[in-house]
Amino acid sequence: MPGHHSIRIPIHGFVELDDWEWDIINHAVFQRLRRIRQLALSEHVYPGATHTRFEHSLGVLHIADSLFSTLKAKHEPLLRSAEYGFDDESFARSRRLVRLAALLHDVGHAPFSHTGEDVMPDGSDGQRLDHERYSAELVAEEMKDVIDDHEVNQAGLRITGREVADFYLGRSHIGRKLLLWRELISGQLDADRMDYLLRDAHHCGVSYGTFDLDRIVDTICFVEDKSLESPADLRIGIEEGGTHAAEGLILARYFMFTQVYSHRTRLAFDYHAAEALKLFLRGDTLPTPFTPTGREKYLAMDDWTVGHFIHRGKADRHGDAILGHRHDRCISETSEVASLDELRHHDELLKRLRDIGIDAWEADVSRSWYKPGPSEVQIGQPQSGESVRKAIPLAQVSEIAGRIRDSKMKLIFVPHDAREQANAIKEEAR
């Protein structure tokens, strides 16, 4: 790769970039990520959590490239066989797409990261858009000058921004060769998750999110699901020798979920941030990413612009909550893995509180971007006469991983001043 640049970030040290990638990160669309905090207002709980999507995106590139290199080194003969048909050019193209997708997958984040997704408009399929759809349009349409038209690209692979976007969105026409690598960007063993666990733990000052990244990188492999249920193509797994490292990753996810991502106070500030953003938008949704005007307006929004709005006292009680650290309080929560009765009781209590005029709201952590499990990580067991290992779900070979369940926890919050009244209603309901 032509040129050499490096940026030092926590966790990985120097991240190496070439001229093309250097120009991409200096593009205004990418620079905006310096003004989008990774964990929104989590500094209200963990004061060190002020890191940004800019730093994280570099970290994801670093890990994704390491994982790609291991997979290529281990499986090159198979991938070059007639069955898969890789050659030097398709390897180079795949690696470049993996690096660019890793670097650019988050450029579409709204102010306050995932919190802002609550205010995104619906897509043509009726489902609300997410930051990945915004990233796709921004990469394909607003970064053409630095992707499609860049001289390094023009002299070599001729990749388009749309191709990068289609790759990480998993569009079917990208074909089987590229789909093979997609799990590195979005999957159970993706570089995104590996980086944010380590990075968020580092900045929050907690040790829960640590796991043996080096071992994961060393033991990642393609595996083959030969079960009767689903004779699948290759997918990404971990060699048997890395089982404990995989367990470490799953436990890191679980602890970060319970101790950081679904921390009550953090959830309360997510809510206030989303409500402040709604006021900033005057009740409208975020601008569409599908028109030039919409993208221009969207790119003008970041944590700073909305923060300025809040600081000017325009965000009503939500601004006051943020500025004065006087957040809504949790008055009820189910178990981490709620029972069916708990879920029903939760719904009834929420309705009752609203019926008497309390501005109660719920946090449903099952809708969170962050998930603790269950583990669909695949472990590769050697099979005689085959170059590819057989996939066995981690949950079947690990007692620990098999016991971690996804959280369906629900919490009810009320304004600070309504706590006593809400608690009284809660006691009555009990």
């Binding site: 079917s172 026409h173 074909g175 089987r176 789909l179 249920e229 699948a232 193509d233 996804d406």
Partner: protein, 172 residues
């Protein structure tokens, strides 16, 4: 749609699948839910994207796990690989919204006897058909590339079958 409703749908599919050919496992249940959302327009709220193993959303696996934990369904791992799903002892504690009963019945009538392999092909075709409108490639061409384990004849037959039931409108 809330979690309890989705669990009710899983329980109903599992009940109706009983006695039919083809084992119900995690993969086949996931594909059936995909078909329910895409063909029958039931707003389950899942976001499926494409992998080498077909349309997938980890949130479905999370719901299956949750349903198993609470006895709505019973999931067991088979020695030969893959999972088997049966009706759980507490399946009666949840039920789907009544207006969805017809859609679920029709789904199981249409696809309930298929294997995971057959369901994977059909769900991939539907996924591809949604996207093929946007590009200059045929559904068959894309499916053959993404899923080389299926023969051209198998793909053709599945496309015709889905066209006949109105599940895809585009030419193969």
């Amino acid at each position: 749609m809330n979690t309890l409703d989705r669990l009710g749908i899983m329980a109903e599919i599992t009940r109706r699948k009983k006695g039919r050919t083809g084992q119900l496992g995690k993969t086949s249940l996931l594909k059936l839910l995909y078909l329910l959302q895409e063909i029958h327009r039931v707003p389950l709220g899942y976001r499926f994207t494409l992998y080498t193993y077909g349309p997938y959303d980890a949130a479905v696996m999370s719901d299956i796990d949750f349903a198993d934990l609470h006895g709505v369904i019973r999931v067991s791992y088979q020695q030969e690989g893959g999972y088997k799903i049966e009706e759980g002892p507490d399946s009666g504690r949840v039920s789907p919204p009544s207006e969805l009963n017809e859609a679920i019945a029709q789904l199981v009538d249409r696809f309930g006897n298929m294997t995971a392999r057959e369901l994977e092909l059909r769900s991939t075709i539907i996924f591809v058909a949604k996207e093929a409108r946007l590009i200059q490639k045929s559904v068959k061409e894309i499916v053959a590339d993404v899923k080389p384990k299926y023969s051209a004849a198998e793909i053709d037959a599945a496309i015709r079958e889905l066209q006949a039931m109105g599940a895809i409108a585009v030419p193969g």
